[in-house]
Symmetry: D2
Subunit: 500 residues, 4 copies
């Protein structure tokens, strides 16, 4: 039997048409070449210098946020600090937007174009870690910045301040915004901001994320839905009258089994994972309440909708099998990212212009210690901190995760990238990432990001054709598609989504 | 925590009210005492002699049936032989009744009362065995008489012939019938005979069964339903496109899981068991067809109905979980047995009068060899062949099985018993039982049964009050209850139910 | 197919030989008749009066304990109150025995015989309820006396005080003890007291328990083992690298599945039940830690051992299937109760002498309201509060539970009974039981129990032959058997067993 | 959270280093350019003409094999026909090699180089189909050529005969072989031929396969292992004594569950699938025998070994959970294909030179009818029959299957391709493929394949540097790797592997 790639695949949406992409890139590249010419190297030099001058302050801000890691929707101190700093720099700030107490928008300038930079600042549970290369929590089981959002929010703000200074100094027309976006980690903070219409008049959104390499991410990421699935049964004494009970835990168990049997029959780049958040109170009582916290993902929103419908069927089947009832509470949902073939080459060029950063000897020693703890076969070279990866089409089967940047990218032309804040080989959501986000290596990568963001923003303010090309590519990619979120209409931000 | 028998149990139907039973028994016993007086010992002596004179012939008949073991609804030779013998003895025979080719009714006499004796003659798959005390099939995987129905049908016929001769000699009024009932083993032959109205005018039904002791069985047995549950999915190449498949086998697996999780939540004297009769055709294809053969049992028809409804829910849940469809084909169903407190003491006394049988030295040696193969902790005494167990109320939690005699007992006052055809300690449905059903030990127990059946029939013909008392107890037990079978109206006997 | 009770059953230990039991009971009854003669009716009259005089005080004590319901091993106030009261009455008290802070022994007198009365006082989680006939917790999710141990401990103490007064007044020789026994509900408080040798010199142990009827419980109850089964896997990002994870939750799920598949293949009077106490921390992380809290029960210690070994095999199998490791922490274990055929008729006669109690009109109205909330088909008569059930052999298939009285009964001749503190039809471990334990109905049943305990203790002090007969029956029942607990040697009382 | 491709992936073996591949291809291409120059266009013209002259005969042969579809290892008539035709053409034939009755080697010429062409001819169960565009089996449930191996074997032989004639006419040195290889579909016929050393002296192996496009397949395919996993338990009466049984079916069910839970934790391009080949004999007996037929696959032999070890652990776990025993009988195993970057461009050029084939109007109508039955969203263009796809690196996440050509490719430099014998959009192992393999469309694609094979063989005979380059690339790819098969040493070909 021989391999035949099915021609009539229903995964069309998820699979970029490679040839088309290549063609589009060529067209865009010539436009971009013009952009490069127009954005004088003088402007670039000026912006990079503005970033460098303010870097020490913002490294300090990132460390302060790192010092009090706050979970999604409860980033009171982190949000307040960023707001205060941006106000002090000259931005006007609107706080508590979209029913999210810690969300805010900082603005400068007026008129078109409107260029936005995204800033996140929430931490992760259980990842508390001292800034040292051995596992050692500051507080056991406490949160920590294992995804480096302390760097993300601060680095984005540093870029925003530098661009603002540049605009002021050069009388640049247009509006610059910094979006303080809470609860990226499972809370879908940006989705509610999109729903509130806060991105309606934005022309281009820029974002970055801490990583272990310097690389443009032109699309990709997994659309995601999460929900708590709660079963209600009938309690009974488990020794004396189990036949009178209808076990909600049985329903959770069978739902789990149902999901496992479904795995073979979803596209292999899907993800379904769950924990059990309520598994019974006392072992001698048939549980009348049990709960699963379920997540599903796929590179395509459409495929994910189908998967989710089938998962809901499984929950109904589990209820039917056990004589219980079920209710489903949506927790969060993020769309996949729509890339932008006009913006990607610009960011690529700017990243290459910045050129990453080089570790000091002390940092190298720290990095080597960290790598020793990774337990991986092939330890990647530390050179990745100063190299820039080439621009590649997204591989929809490559390992990936989810972000609420996705929903922004379905609404506004959006482009992003990662920089090497983490030592090469370190995955996010690990104690190693927490450690690095709290010391000079993470801060070094952050400044690379600030510069690339600032350069791209200046390119956009300087070059209306680039803004138009970004919109054209956006329109082309979404022809025949409509943005929707799986979060039910009317649902408020799940401020306490981490309480089980 | 202390034990509290729940007063408000919903198992009421299944649990005889012990005190009530005891009281009823006392009342009946005095009536029965009269019956004993009236059935003169002379009549008993005569009938026993009639059995003894014809025993050799019917032992030979039982051996012939044993020699060609035939599966349910396909007992052509066995049925024909019994019919021929009964015709030769003077019965008139109606064959092929109730749409069952091998069912028949042999009749003698006319008018009331109508007393019936049941005769079964079907074999079991895979239990072929030579009449020797070591495992050795006559033909590998062939059927065998592991439940001793060759003895059952022949012994019942021997009793019928003896009673007929007695009636003829003594000008006894009334009708005697022998019901040739096919497919007791999973085919519910008698249920279709009941449905066809063949028992409508019968006053009392007598039956016996091979066992490893001599004992009256006054009620009990498990109501049973069986069905084939078939799932239909979508085939797909299991390596190249499993995501396009919807696996019927997954549905069978999840249905099995659902049943296992339900076990804790049914009364503990329930039984649910299944095999997988279709599990996919080729491992590289997602199966679009899979099938479970499912059986459920409980001492109470009512409780069983509830259990069966829940099992059907599980099948729906499994279909829902897997994106498949399901259909359920009923195979068979038997009711539990309604005992009779008027008849039970009469049979008890007659069994005691007959007194079992004593093994010869050669038979003892054979029996000891058989017992060596049983692998049980406590080997029971061989004395059980000549002792009669005392009459006890049914223990609804004791190990039990099912029989289509149950449906007869919901229609007509019915009583039965077992005799020690199998060596004490031997279970039915084993090769040991097959071996014993084909040699003198089984045949010895058969003649004990023939005598006890014949004596009871003669008592009933002699004593109209006994027939009335049987009916009165029957009416009392079924007050407020209605017989129903789970076999759908209009379903024909499942002649080929053993084909998977 | 017909029912055949297997002769070679391996459940022999668990099934009393009915005929033997009946015979033994007859022999004992004649001895007991002598006992009745010797225990003069005058003594009985005196003791009953002593109880009546002190009843009001101890009803008040029971209410105080009810007012601050304390969970197992944390019954500080309850234990202190009982100790103080018993000291005030003239007992000497040794507290904190057997490494249990709330365990104590109160003693009076000296020399042989040593007669002990057991007192429990722990509450149950989640059963907080006001003393009214509608569901209404005092505090939501707070503990409550749903098993009536506030009555148990107080009623037993009332009996002890009355007997002490009687002994003092009549110069009776011998030692009377009250055992304050913590954590009956899942903590096996008495097992550690047995292990510490605290029952070594006791001749007879008496106990009672709140119930919904008045009835002697001569043996029975389920031997039980519980443990926390913890699996350890490898965490991984559930979206980006699930293939690197080894899920501890998968192991718990498969262990659950394994248990469900085992249900069909254990004796049907076994019980296996579990909850999931750790089911993962965040849904986007493959859980490296998961935990099941597992309980198994059977009427026979021996059968339970076999079941438990198989459950441990399942845990090993689940680890093997998932690439995880497993450890098992024993939580508690109680033996089944060894009855005593010498003591049971004595208690039966004393209960009949006391004769239960009759509800007032107000109490009847309360009881009727309570019964309306039970949702059961057949509501039992309120007469059960003043009737005494006849003495019956234990039905090993009847609904039952477990108690650490079992371990005492394997060590010392022991007898117990229940009285109708709960309205007929109310099950223990319900809010209805909590309500009744806090008002006059529960207290009325308590005084019945105090009297029957006190009368039996006086019989034992008066009649050395009865003490000897109790010992003889105890020795006969345990011939060839050795007590063992499944709690590992060296394990301390699990003071915090309720923390998941 | 953002995507980070893990640098330290342990999937290294399976993922070609793209840049390296591109570089190697460039180097090879220049060599190949020389090859093209040397293989004169005259030679190519001559060979194509030889194929065309013999095409009618071999189309007829392919139809004869199609007319009597024979399952793996039982291709008696098909093998005999091919042997007879090749002998008649001038080949010498050795039959019954490698303990496979239907395997053979046809040889022509002598000395180096040794160029081999592979020929398969086995059919698939259940795919009987008339050569019409509606589902209509010749015989219900009978085998059919749903993978087009009737074309494969015949087309390869046509190429071999044409090359032989060319060699004879032009006195070309070297040896040409045709390997008649049975049981490709799940029987691993070639693996035993490799093990027997039959490919030891071969320089290059050429193969083709029917498909729905014209495309070189330079590597890829899934390594595969299959086995029958059989559990042995203890039978018992499922109603009377289920507690005495140990269910082999339970073990199969739990093994299935274990596999499903493992799916999340294997690389997502793995495949695990199974059917249940023995699921119990009668539903009233606890099954003492049950069997799963299991297949596992991954693009990498090394990863597959790890997966298989874990699957064996699951089987052990299932046995442990159920008190059963397990044995595993290996059925077949194929390695993944090692591509060849020297040979791939040569085949690509030859395919382009041949240029596919164009459907007649009648064929187009037939094709359109077939496409209507496919139920796919996007129906591919019929132009695919005359277009050649560009040469691309293998995508290890693309849908794929397995072939025993893999094991050959680990032993000898090997290259293959597919041609459009099936209408674009038709998958192999479908009735549509069966229909097309028996009519002119399939035969048209077959002749394209014959020509491309013949041209490549002539190139190899003409150009020693190309043979050397093929070997050099082979050596480079296998540096540090050793071929092994999972089929146990000493195992004979599983002649009856299709009997369940």
């Amino acid at each position: 039997m021989r391999e035949l790639v099915p021609n009539g695949s229903r995964l069309e949406e998820a699979r970029p048409h490679l040839t088309g992409l290549a063609l589009a890139s060529c067209v865009v590249l010539s436009m971009v070449t013009q952009a490069f010419a127009q954005a004088s190297s003088a402007a670039h030099t000026q912006v990079v210098q503005l970033v460098d001058e303010r870097a020490a302050n913002w490294k300090q801000v990132s460390k302060q946020i790192w010092d009090y890691p706050e979970l999604g929707y409860h980033e009171e101190k982190s949000s307040a600090l960023l707001q205060a700093q941006l106000k002090a720099a000259g931005f006007s700030v609107e706080a508590g937007v979209a029913d999210e107490p810690t969300a805010f928008i900082a603005s400068y300038g007026k008129g078109k174009p409107v260029i936005a930079i995204l800033g996140e600042f929430d931490a992760l549970p259980g990842l508390s870690q001292k800034p040292i290369p051995q596992r050692s929590p500051v507080l056991p089981n406490a949160p920590g910045h294992g995804c480096g959002h302390n760097l993300l929010g601060s680095g984005a703000a540093l870029a925003a301040v530098a661009v603002m200074e540049y605009m002021a100094a050069n009388h640049v027309a247009g509006t610059l915004r910094y979006y303080g976006t809470p609860a990226e980690e499972g809370g879908s903070g940006k989705v509610f901001m999109v729903r509130a219409g806060l991105f309606k008049d934005v022309d281009v959104v820029l974002h970055w994320h801490p990583g272990d390499r310097n690389s443009v991410t032109n699309g990709g990421m997994l659309a995601v839905i999460s929900a708590k699935v709660t079963f209600h049964g009938v309690a009974a004494h488990a020794a004396m009258a189990p036949e009178r009970g209808r076990s909600a835990l049985d329903a959770v168990m069978l739902m789990g089994n149902g999901i496992e049997f479904m795995r073979e029959h979803v596209p292999s780049n899907s993800r379904m994972h769950y924990i059990i958040t309520k598994g019974g109170v006392a072992p001698n009582v048939v549980p009348d309440l049990a709960q699963m916290y379920l997540v599903a993902r796929n590179p395509s929103n459409t495929v994910l909708q189908d998967i989710w419908d089938r998962l809901l069927n499984i929950s109904q089947g589990a209820a039917l099998m056990t004589g219980t009832t079920v209710d489903v509470t949506d927790i969060h949902s993020d769309a996949n990212i729509i890339g932008n073939d006009a913006l990607a080459p610009v960011v690529q060029r700017n990243l290459e212009e910045v050129g990453g950063f080089t570790l000091t000897e002390a940092e190298k020693a720290f990095a080597v210690e960290i790598q020793k703890t990774l337990n991986i076969d092939t330890v990647p070279s530390l050179d990745a901190t100063h190299l820039i990866e080439p621009l590649r089409p997204v591989d929809l089967n490559a390992p990936s995760a989810s972000t609420d940047v996705g929903d922004v990218s379905w609404t506004v032309p959006t482009i992003g990238f990662i920089t090497a804040t983490f030592v090469p080989g370190v995955a996010p959501h690990t104690w190693q990432a927490s450690a690095l986000a709290g010391m000079s290596i993470g801060q070094g990568g952050m400044v690379v990001a600030s510069k690339a963001l600032a350069l791209t923003a200046v390119d956009l303010f300087s070059n209306p054709a680039l803004v138009q090309a970004a919109r054209a590519d956006f329109d082309r990619k979404l022809t025949g598609k409509a943005y929707r979120t799986f979060i039910p209409a009317g649902q408020k931000p799940p401020i306490n989504y981490r309480d089980n």
